[in-house]
Symmetry: C3
Subunit: 329 residues, 3 copies
């Protein structure tokens, strides 16, 4: 999608310094940029290499034009670059289409501009709103509801009755709405019997879920993921978990049943959150930290680390004290 | 499936207090219950809210009838509720059927009442016993054998020759029978060569395996999972692992090659069990704990925690001592 | 595939002691060996049980023939056994074929001897070289390039543009080329916006990737996995990660964005490697260890353990000092 540097500057609300008629066809890193690419600089020390690169235009924080290329000046260059990519990285030839190898139940309702790729299965009563893409081999269970402009990558499984909002991105192999891990032990026999897992899963607008992640439905009630939350690959979300808005969860983290994560929490990779834990708004959990059952983590902007997780200052102090102790002994 | 309160009381062997003719159509939590729902109370403090809810009947431990609803009195309300769900939550309209988009090798043998969903692949020599359901997009490899009444969810992959018992539940995206992680390093070149992974995988009756979990076949011999064992999402079971009966393994735990887990062990989430470890009967491993190579964990009912895992009393004492030390320094 | 003991001895460059005309049809462990099987012994204490087993021939380090069976003497019995398996474990009846249920774009180019199993999807512009096998239900995205003799197991998803070398083995459910986890927070709204994930994924020859593992494409540049590297199940490789040659990564380990792992590194299970970490050649990371952001791990042959990872000698000293401290207090 070719645009001019001026059009992109307008779109991202940047100040243009230099020739606005320069055509832009894509985005790139400084090292890989070619003619027609837009690049960005966060650290001004990289500005000279951006200018010297083969890129056609540069987004930078500072407006000092070094002369040879148009500069798009914006206080948040990374954010501006991400937005420019929305214009410059649109995949071409995405005419909506329903592949004849897909099996779509006649009762399913598909909106306008929906693409259903090869070998997809759409079961009875499913509703898919305008502009969605259902990737090859994905299976959409009975009565699932998918909002507008969702991108479902291949080989995703959505269990019956799951409800997704608008503009979700679900990466390949993810499983949404599987049974939670709930059993009752019969003390007489020592056997486990399955506790019913018949609740709902609701995921709000603008959520992205990584490849091969799994999100369980509620046992009797609901598992919910709030608007704008971003979840990485191989993450596990247990039954009845409630995740707020604008939460970030890195890869391989697990949330056990009935955990609550409030708005704006940031969770590193491989974190373990036990059942009935509450992570209050704005807390930050370092990678591999562990939160024991029923614990409440409180502190906007405070980083917690270790198992059991404690404020990082305490944890680092303990590590240092332990190292000293070991050296002495 | 509508039943009366009296029928359900009989089925779960509860004592009925009140009107046994009340119709029951489903189960629910107290907060979400509607007319026709059965709910349960474990903590008697919740009994009044159960009685005040819109539910039509209540399972409780204590027989004091508060009057307005039939009470089903049972010493283990959660267990009784789980069993009632078996009657009240049967999915309707599950007529067995073979979808024409499935590709079934002519040599495969399917029992009575088997459902094969859309886009399924069943290879040469497969045997599937009565009453199974094979979810859309699943692939059943050559000569695999599946017992009666198994529920295989969509997009599951079963490698050739895997043997499953009766009444298994395998959630979406699980992989059963993949190659173990075994190589031999050629010291001259520094390259790794694949050690053969041609063993078997046998999973006994009543096992449930979570979404996107992976279970490797034996290298030369067998990987085995015992009757009634329950495995959560994203769990990894390595080659030659032997897991006993009635074991519980929470999400994202990994068992390395040749580990042995005896009957009745409970393993938390994100636990790491190294190769050739033995977890003796009835031990409990806390979340994120780690068991080093060849270690034996012994102690029925003892909780182990930390890496390397130690009895939780020791571990908590160490954490407290460390915190004191850090405060002093 | 029947061979004589003499042929196998020649193939693996072992010294034959005994009757070279004995027919060999397979491989096995000592305990499960049957007539026609080849077994191996690493520890000479097991030699007598190998000789007493039902196996037809034995690979051993030591040339003392105990008489009753042909011995194939090799200084590295496990390596020799792995190589013998290449001759003795070839799956029969693997005539190349394209199943009619596969959907292959007319522009895709398939080499000679390629097998495409049931329900596969091969999109526009894909190139698949000679001798590959694409497992049932797998999806190969637009313009992906797959080298010779690759084995892609069922239900694998390969995103558009991914490039694979020769002789790769990709186990079921793996996802190659998914978007990395990159967002920019708009400080005004607190919302996260997607940073473009349009880079490449290149995997070199002889790499094996385990079931349900996920490998992200680069954000703007490339994610690369070097020749001969072996990756276990449920591993996560983030965007822009560079992994060298002959690296071993055990199950459930995660590598965050832009991590660099040099040649010959060995990484245990459930290890967490943060972003921009560098693991220098030949280092060994113990299971569950954690490497914080931007850290450099240096030391060929040195084992690191704990979070944050330190040389194992230090770590064990700290554990011992802590245990002593707790006992005293």
């Amino acid at each position: 999608m070719a645009h001019t540097a001026g059009e992109i500057a307008d779109f991202i609300q940047a100040q243009l310094i230099g020739d606005g008629s320069v055509p832009l066809k894509g985005i790139a890193s400084i090292t890989s940029a070619r003619d027609g690419d837009l690049v960005f600089v966060e650290d001004e020390r990289n500005l000279s290499s951006a200018i010297a690169s083969r890129a056609s235009a540069v987004i930078a924080r500072d407006g000092t034009n070094l002369g040879s290329k148009p500069l798009l000046v914006h206080p948040e260059p990374r954010l501006a670059f991400a937005r420019a990519a929305q214009k410059l990285c649109i995949r071409a030839d995405r005419k909506p289409s329903i592949h004849p190898s897909a099996v779509i139940h006649p009762s399913a309702i598909l909106g306008g501009g929906v693409t259903v790729e090869e070998q997809v299965v759409i079961r009875e009563g499913v509703q898919i709103a305008n502009g969605c893409r259902i990737g090859a081999g994905s299976v959409i269970g009975e009565n699932a509801v998918i909002g507008e402009a969702c991108e479902i990558y291949p080989n995703v499984t959505i269990y019956p009755g799951v409800r997704l909002g608008n503009r979700l991105i679900i990466h390949a192999g993810a499983v949404l709405g599987s049974d939670g891990f709930g059993y009752v032990r019969d003390e007489k026999t020592g056997h486990y019997e399955k506790f019913p897992q018949i609740g709902r899963l609701e995921i709000e607008d603008d959520v992205e879920i990584g490849a091969n992640s799994t999100v369980d439905r509620g046992a009797l009630d609901v598992t919910r993921i709030g608007r704008g939350t971003k979840i990485d690959n191989l993450v596990h979300i247990g039954h009845n978990v409630h995740i707020g808005e604008d939460v970030v969860i890195a890869a391989q983290t697990g949330l056990s049943g009935s955990a609550v994560v409030e708005n704006g929490v940031v969770i590193g990779g491989q974190v373990g959150i036990a059942d009935h834990v509450k992570i209050e708004a704005g807390a930050i959990l370092g990678a591999q930290s562990g939160i024991p059952t029923k614990k409440i983590i409180r502190g906007k902007g405070v980083v917690f680390w270790g198992t059991p997780a404690r404020p990082i200052r305490e944890y680092l102090k303990e590590l240092a004290a332990l190292a000293r102790l070991a050296r002495k002994s």
